[in-house]
């Protein structure tokens, strides 16, 4: 239970949309984001935060990536 602060490389398009491309995990490993499956406003009771939720496919797994006022988090 909790959240992990992660560093993200993202693409900001002209319309103001944000697409995360890859993330840097705590231990320094870098994971490319294969696909963004869903983007919506959501709260995570598990991590204790609220913001834009990106459902991402990373290495065949679905992961929720949250963006709360410019900071990126993953549920742990």
């Amino acid at each position: 239970m909790g959240k992990v602060h992660v560093e993200v490389v993202a693409q900001h398009d002209k319309e103001g949309r944000i697409r995360p491309l890859s993330l840097l995990w705590e231990d320094g490993r870098k994971f490319p984001i294969d696909r963004v499956l869903d983007i919506r406003q959501a709260a995570s009771l598990k991590a204790g935060l609220q913001g834009m939720r990106y459902t991402c496919r990373i290495g065949g797994k679905e992961v929720y990536l949250f963006c709360d006022e410019g900071k990126w988090f993953i549920e742990k």
Binding site: M1, R40, A42, A43, A47, G48, L49, Q50
Partner: protein, 412 residues
Amino acid sequence: MSRTILHVDLNNFYASVECLYRPELRDKPVAVCGDAEARHGIILAKNQIAKLVGIKTGEAIWEAKLKCPGLVTVSANFRKYLQFSRQAREIYADYTDQIESFGIDECWIDVSGSLQLFGSGSDIADTIRKRFREELGITASAGVSWNKIFAKLGSDMQKPDATTVITKENYRDKVWPLPVGELLYVGRSTRQKLQNRGIYTIGDLANRDVHRLRLLLGVWGETLWAFANGLDSAPVRLNGEESLIKSIGNSTTTVRDLVNNTEVKLVFYVLAESVAARLRKHGLKCRTVAISVRNKELYSFERQGKLQIPSFISNNIAEKAMELFTTNYIWDKPIRSLGVRGADLVTANGHIQIDLFEEDNLEPETLEQTIDTIRRRFGHYSVQRCAMLLDRQLTGFNPKEDHTIHPISYFK
């Protein structure tokens, strides 16, 4: 045509937001408090667990800690609350354009026009509650009815996270047994008056002869009677419709209790400057000045008086406030908080009757506008009254900019 109105009330709003961000607090009693150092140390909101042990909003922190030694107090983060409030409004906006906020955590929304699209009133209320849970992580109570008053009563009936529907068929069973004090605008003194006449429930009020109520409470008697019978027809305002300003006021709880007229005067000048600046900003003048005084026993009263000519000059307002104060206070107790309000507003460029023998207000008006300009360019504290330097502690606040959340009246 009968309307469908929802009243949505975010449950324990401040506390819910804090608990969302700090999962470790969720199973503990939590209270959101003002800043104790600045003497705003009261409970602003509490979560469900704290509610059960009897913590009340408005209590001092130490009182609450006596009741519940394990109480976790967190300080308020208004920026976050305003953000959630705005996001809640964005969700309402998916269903209608008639959204009227009532404070930061309550809204009326009129969905009469979108029933064909989204289903019945209670369906929409349930959808909105579900979206709050998923998208914002907080819960809400909703009341559904055909008028705003019953919708609000409905949202108070079941908490947390529930929808209550009050229809024309069931309102006699659901609303009428409630104590009369639950009704909007029945406060302590009105409730007392009604109880003296044997009116204890909303039903008692609804079944009284309206003329008798009028004799008892004046025009309010009729209004409350209409509320109790579900006859209120006030519309839910359109989103963004600016409400007409009825009065402009500021108040403050001072850093320490005030014990003499000089200190009161200093605080009045700070408040009057802010009120005057806000009047000027809106292009208004006030004809009446009202003050509110609260002593350290938390007993409070309000007095008002008319100005000779409408004014937006801080001197006029402060002098009137001081005059009202000296004639109405006998210094039996030190004072904890003070407020100044300009009411009876007129537009600033309206015509006035000039006094033949007294000087006109033109020069002081130009002076105050110049001060506004200086402050806008160089900051609030760039130019100040000399008197403010007598006590930096008492006067070191800026009510005009320090305030963000204003109280709201139903009759806008």
